[in-house]
Symmetry: C2
Subunit: 419 residues, 2 copies
C-alpha cells in the first residue's frame, strides 16, 4: 500500500460551497443572497455565482423581492421543489424500502418489498431495488428525465467509488459489483454507500448536524455504528470502512461478537444486546419478547412511559454502556454534536437521551464534554432513504462543475448582485 | 453553542499546497518542478508558482540542472538549510527541552532545564522556556532575524488560536495565557500546541505519515494519546482537545484513572499502568523499579532482549491491551497508517511492534485491518520538538499567503498565532 498524495483542488471547494449554499436555501427558503452570504461565511460574489448555477439548473427559483433597510430591494430565491426528483433506497436485512423526494426533500412516494431469509442473492436484491424504484416513479407521476439520481444504501463495507459491496456480514456477500448490476435495470444516475454514511449526510444536510464541522451520527438499531462528519464532510477512511464504532472493545474479554472480537459495543447496545441485558437482569422479564427485537424495544418504551422499575433499570444499564462508548468518541474526536439516530434511539426517545447525557458526562473529559451537544435525530422520515437521496443530490451538484464551464459563466452575468 | 459555518477558502488550499511542495522538497532535495508535480498531484503551473514563492523566501534555492530525456535540461531546487532557523520547545512534567533546527530540519543546538516538583508556576515555566530558547540561539550562532519561529508544546488542552493553556492536568493550570506570557520574553513568532498534535505534524512532515491522508500517531509514554491526521491535516476538534484516546474506556469498571473515569486505556498501557501490570503479575518482579518508570521500561527492554519469560509475558500482556485499544481506532477511523511513538514505544521497539500487530489483527475488522500499516516512528530526535518546530515552519509558510509581495506584516505574527 503506497502513500497517496492528498490532492486538493479548487473544484472540491466549489463543490463544497455549492452544497453549503443549497443546504442553506433548502433550510430557509425564501432567502436572499445577502442572508446566504451571512449564513455561510462566503463572499457575496461567490454566493451570487453559486446561486446563478443553481438557478440555471432549475434547482432553485427567483420568488420576488424584499425591502432592505434604506437600500435597494433584495432578490429572493427559494428551492424549486418540482425542479427534480431524488430517490433514496434502503437495503436492509429483511426488506428493501424506497422513497421518492422532491427537491425540498418532501416525500412524494414510498414502496417496500419484503425479503424472506435465504432470498438474498445479489440478483434477488437488485430485482427488489428495481421494483421499488419503478414503483415510486410511477406513484409520483414524475417524468424520467426529472429524476436526478437514485442513492442506494447497502449494509456493510461499500466502496462508493467503484460501486462494489465489498463485504456484507449478514449475507456473506464478498465483492459484489452492485452498482453495475443495478445499472442494468435502473435508467438513472446511481450512487452507492452504506447506512452509516447515508445517515451522516442526512443529518449534515437536514438534521442535527447542519452547520457543524465535526459531528458524530450514531446508528442505534440491530447493529450499531457511527457516521462521522469531520471538517464539514463525511469521513470515509482509506478503504471506505470508517465508523465501525459498534466493534470497539467496551468490555475486554466480554461478550462474543459475530465479528469474532469479544466485548464489542454492539453486543451490549444493539437490539440483540439489549435483549441479552434484559435476560441477564431477569430471565423471565415480561419486557422480553424472545426472537422479536422490535416488540422487545416497544415493550421497553411502554414500560418506561409507565414508570416500570425494571424498564427504568434496563434503560439505565443501556445508558451506562452507551455513556462509556460515546465518551470514547467525544474524547477522541472532540465533536460539536453527537446525534442519536435509528429505531432503537427513536423509540426510547427522551428518557434514553436524558440517561445517556448523564452517563457520557461521567465518563468523558470535562473540556470536550462541555463543547459537545448530545441530541436525538430530528429527522422524522427514514433517515437512510433521506441520506441516500441526499447523496444523489450531492452527485448531481458535483457533476455541475464538470459540465457547465460555459453555462456557469452565463449564469454569473445574469445574476450579478446589485451594487 | 451555535453552529459554526464551515468556511473553506482558496487560501486554505494554497497554504496546504505550499506545505505539500516544501515537504516534498525537504524529503527529496535536489528535485525538479516536474518531479514535484508528479509526487504531489499538483499541476506544473501551480508547482512553479509555489516554488517561486519559496525561492523568494530563500527557504529553497536553485542548485543546477539535470538532463531530461530528449527535452530541455530541468532546473533543480533544494532546501536552503541555512535560509532560516526553527526552534521547537517541549514543556514536560519535569523538564523544558529545546532544539534549534535549520530548514533541512537538522538539529543545530539543544538545551534543557530540569524542573523540580513544585517549581511549575506559569512564571517559572516561562522563564525556563526563555532560557532554553536563548541558549540554543547563542549555541548555534544564528542571527535573530533568521529565526522564523518558536513552536512550544504544552501538555493537556491547549487552544492554539488564542495561545491559552486551558487545562494542564499535572499542574492543575486553568486558562493560563501562556503565549502572551512567553511573548514578553521571546522576540520571535510563537506557536503553541500540545504534544499529540506536535508529534502528529512531525510524522506528517518527516516521519511515517508522510504522504498519507489519514493517519493515527500514538504517543506511548507516561501518558498516552493519539495525534490524528484526517484528510491530510491535523484534526484538532471543536475545542482543540481531540486525540484523548488514553481516556477511552477499555475495561468497563476497571482501574481508576486520574481523570475520574474507570478502565481508561492509559491506566493499562501508560508507563505507570505497565508498572501496575508487572506488580499484578508478580509483586516482587526484578523488572519493577518502584517509583522509576524509566528504569522499569529499560529493565523490560533488557529482559525482552535476553528472552526473560517474565518480560515476554509483560509485553504480551501490554500488547493485548494495546491491540484492543488500537483496533478501536482502526475500526472507527480506517486510517492508512498507525504510528507507535514516544519513549515507551521506542525503547520496547520491534518486539513490542510484532506483538501489537498480531493483537490488533485479533481485535479489528478484517477490511480496515488489511488497509492499515502499523509501524514504529522513524523519527530519531525528540519528535515533540521536531513537531513544534514544524508548526513554526507551517506558521511561517501560512503567513506568506497573507503578505505575498509585502512581507511587512511579519511583525504582527510575532504575537498572533496562526488562525
Amino acid at each position: 500500500m503506497g502513500a497517496t498524495p492528498v490532492k486538493r483542488t479548487s473544484r472540491d471547494i466549489r463543490t463544497a460551497n455549492r452544497y453549503e449554499v443549497l443546504r442553506q436555501i433548502i433550510a430557509s427558503s425564501p432567502t436572499s443572497r445577502q442572508e446566504l452570504a451571512a449564513a455561510t461565511g462566503l463572499s457575496l460574489a461567490t454566493v451570487a455565482t453559486l446561486v446563478g448555477e443553481l438557478l440555471d439548473l432549475r434547482m432553485i427559483t427567483e420568488v420576488g423581492f424584499e425591502d432592505s433597510a434604506g437600500g435597494r430591494p433584495r432578490g429572493l430565491v427559494a428551492v424549486n421543489a418540482s425542479g427534480g426528483a431524488l430517490i433514496g433506497v434502503d437495503i436492509a436485512e429483511t426488506y428493501v424500502y424506497a422513497e421518492l423526494y422532491d427537491l425540498g426533500l418532501n416525500v412524494l412516494a414510498r414502496a417496500e418489498e419484503r425479503m424472506r431469509p435465504g432470498q438474498s442473492t445479489p440478483e434477488e436484491v437488485v430485482a427488489h431495488v428495481a421494483t421499488t424504484t419503478r414503483s415510486v416513479v410511477a406513484q409520483a407521476g414524475v417524468e424520467s428525465a426529472r429524476v436526478l439520481g437514485v442513492g442506494v444504501s447497502m449494509p456493510g463495507q461499500v466502496d462508493r467509488a467503484t460501486g462494489v459491496s465489498e463485504y456484507a456480514p449478514n449475507w456473506d456477500w464478498q465483492d459484489v459489483p452492485l452498482l453495475d448490476l443495478l445499472a442494468e435495470h435502473i435508467p438513472y444516475p446511481l450512487y452507492l454507500d452504506n447506512p452509516l454514511r447515508a445517515c451522516a449526510v442526512a443529518e449534515l444536510w437536514f438534521g442535527a448536524a447542519r452547520g457543524y464541522g465535526d459531528a458524530v451520527v450514531l446508528i442505534l438499531g440491530t447493529g450499531v455504528g457511527a457516521g462521522l462528519i469531520l471538517g464539514g464532510a463525511v469521513h470515509r477512511g482509506v478503504s471506505s470502512s470508517a465508523g465501525e464504532w459498534g466493534h470497539s472493545t467496551l468490555v475486554l474479554d466480554g461478550r462474543l461478537c459475530h465479528c469474532g472480537n469479544h466485548g464489542c459495543v454492539e453486543t451490549y447496545v444493539g437490539a440483540p444486546g439489549i435483549m441479552q441485558n434484559i435476560r441477564e437482569l431477569s430471565p423471565r422479564s415480561p419486557l422480553l419478547h424472545p426472537g422479536d427485537q422490535s416488540a422487545t424495544i416497544d415493550a421497553l418504551a411502554a414500560g418506561l412511559a409507565a414508570g416500570d422499575p425494571d424498564a427504568v433499570k434496563v434503560v439505565r444499564d443501556l445508558a451506562r454502556y452507551l455513556g462509556a462508548a460515546i465518551a470514547d468518541l467525544v474524547n477522541v474526536l472532540n465533536p460539536e454534536v453527537v446525534v442519536l439516530g435509528s429505531w432503537v434511539a427513536i423509540r426510547l426517545g427522551t428518557p434514553l437521551l436524558r440517561e445517556v447525557r448523564a452517563a457520557v458526562a461521567r465518563h468523558a473529559l470535562k473540556r470536550p464534554m462541555a463543547a459537545t451537544r448530545i441530541v436525538l435525530s430530528p429527522i422524522l422520515t427514514d433517515s437512510v432513504c433521506m441520506g441516500t437521496a441526499t447523496l444523489a443530490l450531492e452527485g448531481a451538484l458535483q457533476s455541475v462543475g464538470q459540465t457547465t464551464g460555459k453555462r456557469a459563466t452565463r449564469a454569473r452575468s445574469r445574476t450579478a448582485p446589485p451594487t
